[in-house]
């Protein structure tokens, strides 16, 4: 009767999913329809066969695995989702940060006419000056020290002073001497300490050190003579204190000598330059020596005589020929010696003149004349000797003696210095590049910020749309 409908509903009938009314209708039909009955039987058979398919069950290890996964998930997500407050605060914080950066960029641009890049480049240049890769810090300090013009301006950092003293001590052990103008140093230190409170402590320490060294050097001095102003000590911290050169007024009879030890790049060139300087100052070469060692390094010694009024200028100029390793001056007051010689000459001249006068006026007898004649010769010789001594003394006083010793640096030291310079240069370049990059970043920030703001706005809108759609679906 409604065969076709029953066939389609046999599954529902089998599963008891039909309404009561429909179920009765189907049941009634099945009693009459053999084909539907057979069809139902086949479906039931299939169903029974299906139920025979058994599956193994999961063990307790599965529970542990799930729990572990849950824990891991929680850890990954940072314990649940972000709170709503946090969701609002994070974008707000980012936006605020960006705005602050923009304001900072604009202010920086307005702050200087050169712009941020220019200022930062200046800053980079100043860093470069501080590093001074082509200069030698210790050399420049000692150069100034040797010329008696030590200034605390050269102290760039607090650490510089102890470093200098360390170098002095180290070199002192090797027997090197350094001449210092104590007046200049003390004034420099004191003036600096007055004007620069920052350096007070270091100036005071430097002053104390100078005093200590002066005392130590004086105690260990071998010179003994109070007229000798040069003081040196055999070992230990060696700073030879030269209390300024004595006055060169007329009547003073002072012999001056100086010795400079230089480390030079080119020995031959230094020899030529030193000779030229000698001629420039109206002096002459008293002696010279130039030689090469086994490693091919040129060393030499030049002794020159320079007029006394050009002594300091010549010494200064010679010190510029290389790195001053040692510089010492010596002043010997020979006034008394000169006076003695002069007195003895005067006395001898008196005797001589009287003897000559007696002989010329024939006031003596012949035997006496013969005796006077024989005595006159040694007096004459004595007068001549005294005159020669005085002349030599005058020569020594009017022409000072400067000895310049020079040598080329050791190859290893040279390489080390070059390596240090290369490293310093690399650091400098890196720092400059970093500063420049930062400058470029700051410079481009206002342009970049527009894109960032647009991107953030788009992201916020997208998030809002996504959330709205989600809420819509939830509803």
């Amino acid at each position: 009767m409604f065969n076709s409908h029953v066939v389609n509903e046999l599954s529902s009938y089998l599963d008891n999913q039909l309404s009561e009314k429909r179920k009765l209708e189907v049941k009634k039909h099945l009693e009459q329809c053999k084909s539907c009955n057979e069809e139902l039987f086949k479906l039931m058979l299939v169903s029974n066969k299906m139920k025979a398919w058994s599956v193994d069950e999961l063990g307790p290890e599965f529970d542990n695995a799930v729990r572990n996964k849950i824990v891991l998930k929680e850890l990954e997500r940072g314990e649940v989702k972000m709170e709503k407050k946090f969701k609002i605060l994070v974008p707000s914080g980012i936006l605020a940060g960006i705005l602050v950066l923009v304001c900072f960029g604009v202010l920086m641009r307005a702050y200087t006419k050169m712009g941020v890049e220019g200022r930062l480049r200046d800053s980079a240049d100043s860093i470069g000056e501080q590093y001074d890769p082509y200069g030698d810090i210790s050399g420049s300090h000692y150069g100034q020290i040797s010329r008696g013009s030590f200034k605390f301006d050269s102290v760039k950092d607090k650490k510089d002073l102890p470093t200098i003293r360390n170098i002095e001590r180290k070199k002192g052990l090797d027997g090197w001497n350094y001449g210092l103008g104590t007046d200049d140093l003390s004034e420099g230190a004191k003036n600096q300490s007055e004007h620069e409170p920052y350096y007070d402590e270091y100036a005071e320490r430097a002053w104390t050190d100078v005093g200590r060294n002066l005392v130590a050097s004086s105690e260990s001095s071998n010179w003994g003579s109070p007229s000798e102003s040069s003081i040196s000590s055999g070992e230990g911290p060696v700073i030879v204190i030269q209390p300024g050169l004595p006055a060169t007024g007329e009547g003073e009879k002072i012999i001056r000598t100086a010795e400079v030890v230089l480390e030079v790049e080119d020995g031959n060139d230094t020899y030529q330059k030193a000779s030229t300087i000698c001629q420039e100052f109206g002096g002459y070469l008293a002696g010279s020596k130039l030689y090469k060692d086994n490693e091919g390094r040129v060393s030499g010694t030049i002794t020159m005589r320079i007029p006394k009024d050009k002594f300091i200028s010549a010494l200064d100029k010679l010190s510029t020929l290389g790195k001053v390793e040692n510089s010492s001056t010596n002043s010997q007051d020979v006034s008394q010696q000169y006076t003695n010689l002069k007195s003895r000459l005067d006395a001898a001249m008196v005797v001589y003149n009287k003897m000559v006068e007696a002989l010329q006026q024939r006031k003596v007898t012949i035997p006496e004349a013969i005796r006077l004649e024989s005595e006159l010769t040694p007096v004459l010789k004595r007068v001549e000797d005294l005159k020669n001594q005085i002349e030599q003394l005058n020569n020594s006083i009017s022409f000072t003696t400067i000895t310049v010793r020079f040598h080329e640096p050791q190859v290893s030291a040279k390489i080390l210095k070059e390596s240090k310079n290369i490293i310093k240069e690399s650091i400098l370049i890196t720092r400059i590049n970093a500063v420049k990059s930062f400058a470029n970043l700051i410079k481009s920030l206002p342009n970049l910020i527009v894109f960032v703001v647009v991107a953030i706005v788009i992201a916020i809108v997208a998030l809002f749309i996504k959330q709205s759609i989600k809420n819509l679906f939830k509803k």
Binding site: Q17, N37, L43, W53, D63
Partner: protein
């Protein structure tokens, strides 16, 4: 915890009672696993999906609304995950035909000699598995939920997000498809059904 209904256990889990998860696992890990294994016929995959199902239960515990049955909710999660996995890789095998030698199949699956009945049972079960796996995915799911989990058509409709009529049709067509393919292998197709 054991005396509570599924929905009440889930409510307590929602409130932070971690023991509730143990109870949910005890009650539902095997039904979900069986369901997924029957539709995927891959043990590792089924185990993986089952653990993912419980992860989702944990993840969406705050979104759970006890308006319907918990079983419906958890099976719908399994259904969603299975669909997404199906998109990534096909769970397909070839249809068995009359030309296929059942004995050969049995030998491959069970090389050891076994009694005739066991052998026959294994043959039918193997064919059945293949036939079920060859069913369209929704038919497969609907039939498994009905036959093995004994769910009502209404619940199945909710799980599959289909209408009741569609579910009826899916289950009926699934059975017809299976009947067409399995009956040639079953000797006892005779007689009728006495109501």
């Amino acid at each position: 915890m054991q005396n509570l209904k599924d929905e009440e256990v889930m409510e307590s889990y929602k409130k932070g009672e971690m023991l509730a998860m143990d109870e949910l696992l005890r009650r539902y890990k095997n039904p979900v696993y069986r369901f997924v294994l029957r539709i995927s016929q891959d043990k590792d995959e089924a185990q993986d999906i089952t653990s993912d199902v419980f992860l989702k239960v944990h993840e969406y515990r705050k979104d759970y609304q006890p308006l319907g049955k918990f079983s419906t909710w958890i099976f719908s999660i399994a259904h969603n995950i299975s669909i997404s996995r199906l998109r990534k890789k096909k769970w397909q095998i070839s249809w068995p035909t009359k030309k296929d030698d059942p004995e050969e199949l049995v030998e491959v699956q069970s090389p050891d000699p076994s009694p005739d009945k066991i052998s026959e049972k294994n043959e039918i079960e193997e064919i059945l598995r293949k036939c079920i796996k060859e069913l369209p995915f929704l038919q497969r799911e609907a039939l498994c939920l009905r036959e093995y989990e004994n769910l009502d058509y209404k619940d199945i409709a909710k799980i599959l997000k289909k209408s009741l009529g569609t579910v009826k049709m899916l289950i009926h067509r699934a059975r017809l498809n299976l009947k067409e393919r399995i009956l040639p292998f079953i000797e006892e197709v005779k007689g009728g059904y006495n109501v």
